[in-house]
Symmetry: C2
Subunit: 354 residues, 2 copies
C-alpha cells in the first residue's frame, strides 16, 4: 500500500507519526507493507515559497493508494488561505465527494452529555464534499460603499446529489445496524426551496432502490437539538456540505472532541484517491511538547486501512484504540492523557495483538 503523507503544520507531524507507527504494526500483523512518501506542504512551505500546492502536486498525489493528512493551519498565515488552498483544493481536484465521519464514543472517553454512553453515541455522518456553498461562487456589488451587496451561491447538481446519496444508502445497508437500517437526510427544505428541493427529490428517488433502508428526514435545526437530546435516534445521516461541516463538529464534541474524531474525504470511484485526517487543528501551542492526543490521527489511520482494501487491519486498529481509551488513558485532552503522545501510540501498537 502506497500512502502519501502530508504531516502539515503544528502538531500535525507528531500525530501523523503515531498513526503511521500503528498502521505499520497492523500491516505487519496482517501481512502487507505500507510505503510512505512525505510531502512537506503546509504553512511553513507557504511562508517560504509562496506556494501552497506546487504545480503538478495533485497529479503526483493521484498516483497513491491514499493520502494521510495531519493538520494544516499556521499562526502566521491568514485563516482560510491554507484551508482553501490545500484541504478544499484536494477535496475538489481529487473529487472526494464523500466526507465520512463515524461518530462513536469509545469506551472510557468522556462525553459532555448526561446519561449517554457508547451505546447511545454511535452513528455516522455522510457529508457531501464537493458542492453547496463550498463552490466558492459569489461576488460584490458596490464594494466598500454603504450600498454594498455581497452574494454567495450554493450550487447542487443532480449528479452530485445522486452519487453521494446512493453511496449513503449503500453504506447504511452495509452498516446493517441491528436496531434497523435508517438513513436520515438532514437539510432545510422549508427554506432552501430550490437547492434542497433537488436534494430532496433525489433522496426520494434513490431511496426506492434501497427498500430495506428506512428513509428519514430532519431539518438541520431540529437535528442539532435531537443529536444532543437523543443521539441514539441516528444510524446514518446524509447531509449537504455546509450543514455537514456544522453537524460533524457538533457530533465530534459528543464523541469526545478534537482529540478523538477523524474523517475521510473519499472518492469511491475506481481509481479514486481518498484522504484521511484527524479532525483536530494544528494546535500550535502544544507543538513539540509530546502532549497532543494522537487518537484522532490513529482513528484516521484505521479508516484509511478500512477503506483502502485492508479492512481487517482497520478493524484491528479500531479495537486497539478502544482498549487503550477504555483501560489506559486518563483523559482525551492534550496534556491530561496520563501519557505522552508517543506513549499513547506505543500503547495502541501493544494492544494490536489482542
Amino acid at each position: 500500500m502506497k500512502i502519501a503523507v502530508i504531516g502539515g503544520d503544528g502538531t500535525g507531524p507528531e500525530v501523523t507519526a503515531e498513526a503511521l507507527k500503528v498502521m505499520d504494526a497492523a500491516a505487519k500483523l496482517e501481512g502487507f507493507t505500507i510505503e510512505t512518501t512525505e510531502f512537506g506542504f503546509g504553512g511553513d512551505h507557504y511562508l517560504k515559497t509562496g506556494e501552497i500546492l506546487p504545480e503538478g502536486a495533485v497529479d503526483q498525489l493521484r498516483k497513491f493508494d491514499a493520502i494521510f493528512l495531519g493538520a494544516i493551519g499556521h499562526p502566521d498565515v491568514a485563516p482560510g488561505i491554507l484551508e482553501k488552498g490545500l484541504l478544499l483544493q484536494l477535496r475538489f481536484q481529487l473529487d472526494q465527494y464523500i466526507n465520512l465521519r463515524p461518530v462513536k464514543l469509545y469506551p472510557g472517553v468522556d462525553t459532555p452529555l448526561k446519561d449517554k454512553g457508547p451505546e447511545e453515541i454511535d452513528f455516522v455522518v455522510v457529508r457531501e464534499n464537493t458542492e453547496d456553498l463550498y463552490a466558492g461562487i459569489g461576488g460584490f456589488l458596490k464594494k466598500g460603499t454603504a450600498d454594498e451587496v455581497a452574494t454567495q451561491t450554493a450550487i447542487y447538481t443532480r449528479k452530485g446529489c445522486e452519487r453521494w446519496l446512493r453511496w449513503a444508502f449503500e453504506y447504511t445497508q452495509k452498516r446493517n445496524n441491528p436496531k434497523g437500517k435508517k438513513l436520515t437526510l438532514v437539510a432545510k427544505t422549508n427554506v432552501l426551496t430550490y437547492g434542497h428541493d433537488l436534494v430532496w427529490r433525489t433522496f426520494q428517488e434513490v431511496a426506492k432502490d434501497y427498500p430495506d433502508v428506512e428513509p428519514d428526514y430532519n431539518h438541520v435545526d431540529a437535528c442539532c437539538m435531537w443529536m444532543v437530546k437523543n443521539p441514539e435516534y441516528y444510524d446514518v445521516i446524509a447531509t449537504t456540505n455546509m450543514f455537514g461541516d456544522i453537524i460533524t463538529d457538533l457530533a465530534g464534541i459528543l464523541q469526545g472532541g478534537m482529540g478523538v474524531a477523524a474523517g475521510g474525504n473519499i472518492n469511491p470511484d475506481a481509481g479514486g484517491t481518498s484522504m484521511y485526517e484527524p479532525m483536530g487543528g494544528s494546535a500550535p501551542k502544544y507543538t513539540g511538547k509530546n502532549v497532543i492526543n494522537p487518537i484522532a490521527a490513529i482513528s484516521a489511520g484505521a479508516m484509511l486501512l478500512e477503506h483502502t482494501g485492508q479492512p481487517a487491519a482497520g478493524a484491528r486498529v479500531l479495537k486497539a484504540i478502544q482498549t487503550v481509551t477504555g483501560t489506559k488513558m486518563k483523559s482525551q485532552s492534550a496534556g491530561k492523557m496520563g501519557y505522552g503522545t508517543t506513549e499513547v501510540g506505543d500503547l495502541v501498537v501493544e494492544a494490536l495483538g489482542g
Copy 2:
C-alpha cells in the same frame, strides 16, 4: 398596550392563552392594560380559505404595538407552506431584522449537559432575520433531468449587516455582563469568502464605535462544539440568518428545549412592529390535552413586555417563571410537568406578586 394575537395551530392557542393570562396579571400589577385582538391565521384558516395572510393583513398588524404568535404548523399542510407564508412573510414585510434568542437555563430546569447549570448557560443570540439564504432566491436548470442544476443564493447587504451588528453591539453594552462585555460573531469567513467577507468587514468597522465591547469571532462549526463544551464562554453571539437558525436550536436544547425557549422577531426602528413567539412547534399530538408546557410562551410574553415599553412587567414575569420552574414544576416535558398547562399558567400568575 395593543397586541395582535395569532394563536395559530395545534397547541399554539393553549400556550398563548396562558401567556396572555400572565401578561394581563403583570400589567395590572404594574398599572397598565393590555388590549388584544385575535387573528385566526394558521393551518385551519389556510385549509378552509386557501389563503395564509389575507390581503391587507400585514398593514393591519403593523398598527399594533406588538404581535404574539403561538405556533404554526398543521399535519394536513405540506411543511414549508405556512412557515414561508406566515412566519417568514411577517419577518420580512415587517422588516423584523433582529431575531433575539436569550439562552438562559432557569433554576430547576434540566439541561442535557453534564456539570453545567444556570451560571454557565446564560447567553444571548442576536440572529440577523431578513437576509442570507432566507432571501428565497434560486432556481433550476434542466429540472427533472439527469443534468439538473439547482442554485440557492445567500444575499447580504452592507445596510442589513450594519443595522443588525450595531444593534448587537448596543445590546451587549446594555446587557453589561459583569464577566466582561463580549460580542462573538459566528460565521464562516474561510469558506463564504464573498458573503461573509462583507459581514466580517462590517463587524470590524462597527466594533470601533463600541470600544468597551470585546469583539470576538468563531467559525460556526467551532461554535457548535464550544457551545456544548463551554457555554459559559459566550456573552452575546451575533450570527447570520441561516447559521442563527441552527445555533439557536442547539442553544435551545441546552436551556431545556422547546418547552422553555422563546424568541423575538424585532424591528427596533421607530414605529416598527415586533413579534414574539415560543420556539416549540404546534405539537398536534398534545393538542387540547392540557399537557403542553406554556413556559416558552410565557417567556415570549415577558420578552414582549420588556421590549414594548414595559420592562418592569417583563422582569416581573421572568422572575415569576423562575420561581415556578425552580420550586414547583417536576419537568419541562409535556405531560410530565406535575401540573396541567393552565395550572402552570396559574402558578406563574401567583408568583408575580413575589
